[in-house]
Symmetry: C2
Subunit: 747 residues, 2 copies
Amino acid sequence: MGIGYKRIEIDGGTGGVTLPAQAGMEKEVLELAERWGIDAVRDSDGTRLSPEIAYMGFTVYSTLCLVREDNEWAKAHRGFLQQAYLISDRVSALGPRLEIDPMARYYAEQFAPDDRHDPGRYWEVYDRSAGESLPPSAWTWDRATRRIVVEGAVPGHVYTASFLADQLWEPVSMYNHITNAWTEEHRMPLDPRHPEARARLLEVLREWLAERPSTGVVRFTTFFYNFDLAYDERGKERRVDWFGYGFCASALAMDEFERERGYRLSPEDLIDQGYGNNPARLPSKAFLDWMDFIQRFVALFARECVDLVHAAGKKAYMFLGDHWAGTEPYGPYFGSIGLDGVVGAGADAVTTRMIADIPVRETEARFYPYLFPDVFREGGDPAGEARRVWARSRRAILRSPMDRMGYGGYLSLACRFPAFVAEVEGICRRFREIRAATSLAEPGLDGRRFASPWVAPFKVCVLNAWGETRRWMGHQVAHSLPNRRCHAYLGFLEALAGQAFDLEFLSFDQVLREGLPRLPAVLVLAGDAGTAWSGGEAWENPRLAAAIRLWVARGGGLIGIGEPSARERQGAYFQLRDILGVEREMGLGLNWRERPPAPRPGHFVDAGLSERPDLGEGISQVRALPSGARVLRASGPGGEDACLAVNRFGSGRAAYVAGLPYSHENARLLERALYWAAGAEAAFETWRAQDPRVELHAYPSVGRFAAVNCADEPVSTNLTLGDGTRIAVELASLECAWFEYDGGGAP
Amino acid sequence: MGIGYKRIEIDGGTGGVTLPAQAGMEKEVLELAERWGIDAVRDSDGTRLSPEIAYMGFTVYSTLCLVREDNEWAKAHRGFLQQAYLISDRVSALGPRLEIDPMARYYAEQFAPDDRHDPGRYWEVYDRSAGESLPPSAWTWDRATRRIVVEGAVPGHVYTASFLADQLWEPVSMYNHITNAWTEEHRMPLDPRHPEARARLLEVLREWLAERPSTGVVRFTTFFYNFDLAYDERGKERRVDWFGYGFCASALAMDEFERERGYRLSPEDLIDQGYGNNPARLPSKAFLDWMDFIQRFVALFARECVDLVHAAGKKAYMFLGDHWAGTEPYGPYFGSIGLDGVVGAGADAVTTRMIADIPVRETEARFYPYLFPDVFREGGDPAGEARRVWARSRRAILRSPMDRMGYGGYLSLACRFPAFVAEVEGICRRFREIRAATSLAEPGLDGRRFASPWVAPFKVCVLNAWGETRRWMGHQVAHSLPNRRCHAYLGFLEALAGQAFDLEFLSFDQVLREGLPRLPAVLVLAGDAGTAWSGGEAWENPRLAAAIRLWVARGGGLIGIGEPSARERQGAYFQLRDILGVEREMGLGLNWRERPPAPRPGHFVDAGLSERPDLGEGISQVRALPSGARVLRASGPGGEDACLAVNRFGSGRAAYVAGLPYSHENARLLERALYWAAGAEAAFETWRAQDPRVELHAYPSVGRFAAVNCADEPVSTNLTLGDGTRIAVELASLECAWFEYDGGGAP
C-alpha cells in the first residue's frame, strides 16, 4: 500500500501584502486592495500617504530613517555628522616629495576630509611598497591646498592616505537623487554615537510617533549606518560594499573602541589595503572586534528606539538594506533589538531566503522590481521581471515560509502597467496559498508557526570564513559586482536556497573550535583562490585541512566548486587535493606529462546531465591526480580541464565542479552530487520529481506536499513520494500544485 | 639619393652539413653527399659507421656518452652508479601509523632506493601539512617491506619522503628502448664523482679515441648527468625537467658540497616541495649554490676529457641535450671546458637561437624531425615537418648565423621518404647561402666570423628570475609540458628570436645589484603569477618595483604579458599596475563598479592588427585602471577583459598583452609595441617590410640584406630600406631573397 494522496485547492484568503501607496492614488489603492488582497499600506522615501488612505482600514507602515530626518538640526550641528574612513588613490612617488590629494576621485558633495580631529592621530599615510605605515611626523596636511605632503618619500614607492571624512550627503538620499531625479535638499546623516545627537534622534522619534496616530508599523529604513557606498567625482558609484562597516567609523568611535576594548585600531584595520574588509576577504581579528563593537552599539540604541515604538502601541520593523550596518540579523545582538519583523528585498531564492531565515517573528519579502523609473519605463518589462523574480524567490519561501510580501517604490508608476498589476495579482494569491498551506493550526512549542519541510537524511554545511554570520550572504555581492566568476559561485547558493536540505553555514574557526558536523553530512566549499569563500590563508593552519581530511575519511562528503581550498603551499595548490582527487596546474609544476584521458561519464552524479553543461567559464588546467578522481566532464580548448569529477577518500566521497551558475540542470546536478557525497544515493528518489524543472516540497506535520514547476513552460513528469509511490502530474507554466497525503500503509 | 641596391644570388658552396650515416648505407651516403652537400658523417645512438663510410673523405663525427659506455664495469661497480633525489607520492595519514612506499609510481627498472647510505642522514620525511621535516628518529626504513614507517604521524597530515635512489637504467637509453624499440642490455650510468669511476671513464675515453683514428670530431652526448627524467610504473614519463639538477645528486655529492661550501644541503633544498627547482620556480640561494657546485665539477672533468680529445688530434663538440646538466652554455664555467663546438636540436626560432648564441667557436643546428619511426612512418609528413621547422629556425639563424646544420637518427628511415630528401636538399642549400652571405672576409677583432645584423635603436631586455643563465630558455619547457598558457608566453620569445633587436636577458637580482639598462630600452615581463617569469615573491622586495618604476618614469619602456608582476600584496595584484595602467580583479576587490567601456583601437601599437587577434586564452578580468591604460582590444564573454592596452607613465610607456602565441601577426604586434614603448615609432619603418609575413635583415658591414618570406605562400610587399628608400618585392613561398646595397647618398 502506498501513500494516499489527493490534489487540493488552497484558499489563501487575503492579506499578507503591503502596498506602497501615495497621496492622490486613493482610487487605485482601493482597486488594488481588492485585486492584490492587501492589508497594509506604506509610504516610501519621497512619498506620503493621504489621510484618506491612512484611514481606509489597512495597517499603515510608515518608513523612517531617523538619522536623516531632521536636516535643520544636522546643518546646525555639523560636528555630529556621520563620518567614514576612506582611502586615497594609490600615488607613485617619483622623487622624495609626494603630494596626495585624498579627495581625488571622490565626490566633493558627499565627503569632506575631517581635519577638526588631528590628522596625525586619525589619518594614516601608508607606504604600500614597504607595507608600512609612516609615522605622523613624516607627513603634513596642508589645509590650504587640501593635500597631504610627504617630504621624505622613497622614490619609486607607492603611497596611500587613509583619512576620516565627514559625510555631507547621506548616500541613500544621494542614490535616490541620481536614480529618481530627486531635487530636494541634500540630507545629512547624524551620528548617534554623539550623546547630543542620540538625544535629538530620540526626541525626533517621539515627535514623529506622536504625529502618526494612524501608523501601525514603524518601518525603520534602517537604523543608523549605511553600508559603504562612495561615489566618484562623476557621481558614479566608486566603491559599494553592501556588507561594509567603513561608514560606521568616526573619530569618536575609534576613541570609544579603544576605551571599550583596551586597544586602539589603526585606520589600516578598517581600510584593509583598500579592500575595506569586504566579505570576500578573510576577516581579521581587529575587524571582527570592530564589527562586534558596532553591533553592540547599534543594538543598544536600536533597542531604545524600538522601546519607544512599542510604548506608542506600534510595531517596529526594520528594512534589511540601506542603513543596516551593525544590525547583522544572524549576529549575536540582533535578538536584543526586540523587533517585530524584518522586511528585505527579494530578487531571487538566495536573497529571499536570507530574509526568510532571519530569527524574528515576522518576515516580509519586498520583491523586485522596485517601482522605479529604471524598469517602469517605455520598453521596460516590469511584468516579466516580477514573474521571473517570483519564480526564483518562491523556491526559498517554500523552504522557509514567510508572513508577508510587498513591493516598494511609486504606485503611480505601477498603475501605468496593467500587465504588471495582473501578474502581481497572481503572485499575491499564490504567495498566500503557500502561507496557508504550510501554516500550523497551533504554533509549535518553539514558537514556530509554519510546518517544517521534509529534508534529506543528511546535513549540508556551507563552509567558509564567515559561517552563520553570513548565512545566505556568501558571494551575494555578485549582484552588483561585475565579477563573472561570482555568478558561477552564487549559483550553488541559489540552488540550495530552494532545496530540501538541513542547511548550516560553518566557519573555518568553528571547525577548529568545535570540529565538524555529525555524520552523515556534506561540506560545500566554493570560491576563488584567496577569498573568504575558498579559504586562502586559512589553509596555513594545518589543523583545518587535517580535521576535514579525517572527517571525510570517516565517511563525510565534500563538494568543491571552483578553486576549493586553493593556496599554493608545500607542493599543493588545492590543499584538499587528496580528497577531491583533482589538482590545478598553476604553471609551477611539471607534473602533467600526458594529455588527460577522455572523461568517463555515466556516474550517479551526472545521470541525466547534458553532455556539455554550462558550468561557468571553467577553471583552467584542473586535472585528475594519478589514481585520483574520475572525471565526468571536461572543458576548455582540447577538453583537458576537468570541470566535473568524483572521488572517494577513505570511507568518504568528494565531487569537484568548476562552477555552478544557477539553472534547473545545475541545481539537479548539485542535488545528485550532495546525495552521492553523503552516500545517500538510495534515498535520492524520495520526494523527487523526475524532471529537474519540477521541485517537490513535503510538509509532513500538515500532511501536504507541493509539486512546483520552476520553468515558465508546461511540464509533465513523475513524482516519487516519501514511500516510493510514483504519480504522474501535469503542471502549467510555473504552477505550484498542492496535495494532501497520509502515511498510507506505513506505520 | 636613396640607397643603391641590387638583388643577388649567393653561392653557398657545399659543406656545413652533417649526415647521420650507418653501415650498409654506403650508396645512399654518397648520393646524399652530392644532393645535400655534406662534409661530415656521424653515427648515432645505436648505429655504427662502416669503414667504407669512415674513409669516404668526410669529417667523421663519433658520438660518445662516456658514463654509459662501459656497462660491464658499471655492473661490477654498482656503488659507483649515478643516483638521484626523488620524492615519493604524497600520503595522507589517517592515523598515527603511516607507511610510505617511496617507489610507488616509479619504475623499478629505472630506480632502486639507496639504503647503503644511512637513510636517516640522506633521506627526509616531510610533514607537508606542517611544512616541517621530521627528525630521523621519527621514522624508520623497513628493509623487508621497502616501506618508510612513521609511528607518530599527526592524523590528517600529508607526508612525503625524499630519498636517494640508484639509477639502474640510464634514462636516455631507456627513452630509446621505448621510442625506438631497442632490445639491447639496459645501460647503467656511472657517476664520475667517484674517483675510481672517473679514472675508469678517462681510461675508456683513451681506449675509445685510440680505436677511432678516422674520427675527426668527438661529439659528446653530452657529458655526465642527464636532466631529470623519471618514468612511472607503466614506463611513461612521470617527471621531465630538461633543466633539472636532481640527477646530479648523490650521497657523495651531498657530502662534497658540505665540505666545499661549508654548509649542508637538505634533501628538501633539491626536492623543493616536489617542484624540483624547475625553471618556473624562483631559484633559492641553496639551489643556485648547488647549480654552481655541479657546474664547477662538470666543467673541470669535462675539461679533462676535452684535453684528451685534443691530445688525440680531434675536435670536441658537445650535444646540448641529454646529459647536459651542469654544462650551462650561458653559465660562468662553460668557456673553461674548451669545446670546439656545440650541436643542439633546432625545432623553431627559440631553440635554434639558444644554440646559435652560445659563446663557442662553432655551432650546429640538428634540425627536427629526428629520423625516428615516430615521424618516419606510414602517414607521417617528415618533409612538411622539416619545412615548417626550417621556416621557424631560419629566423634565428638570420639573426645569429651558425656554422653547421644536420639531422639526427637513422638514415635508413630518411631514404624511404624521397620528398623529405628533396626538401632537405633545398634547406641545406639555403642554409649555406645565409652562412656565405653573412660571412666576414676576415674574422673581426673579437673573433667574430659573421657580420652583425642591424638592430633597432634601443635595447630589449627580457626580465625574469634567471637572466642570461636561461637565455632563450624561459618558458621553453612548454615544448613538452601540456600547460597551454606556456605557449602564449613562449610566443614572444619565438618572435624575438628572429627580430632585429639588441637583446639581453636580465634577472631580478641583476636589477637590484646593477640597476636597469641605459635608455633607450624596453623591458619584457611575461608569465603566470607566482612563476620565475612573472616574478612571484620577488615582488616582496620593494626595491625591485621601485627601480623599474623610476626607470620607466625616466623614459623606459615596459611590455607586460599575461600576469606581469602578479603578486597579491598591499592592495595590488599587478605590482606594476601603475605603469601598466591595468589591474586584474582576483575576486577580492569591489573596485569595478561599471562595465568597462568599449576598447578604443587605432593606436600605433595595433595598426594593421586584426579586430580579434589570437592573444591566447586570455587572462580573465583584466581592466584598465581609472585614468589608466587605453584598451585597444578586449576579450572574454561580454568583451570585458582587456587583452591589449597601452599606457604612459611619467616619460615612459608600457603595453599590456594577455598572451602572444607565435604568429606573423603577433610578432608584428610585439615589434610595434616595443618600438612604441621605446618611444621609437619614428624609426619603425627602417629596414621593414610592410607585410608582417616578410622580415628584413640587414648586415651593414657586408652591405647585404635579406628579405625573407616567413609564410608558406607567395607574398608581394614593399620594403623600406635603412634610409627610407622603398622598394617592391615579390617573394615565393618561404623565399629568402638576398640584396647588395651601398650607402647611396648618405655620408
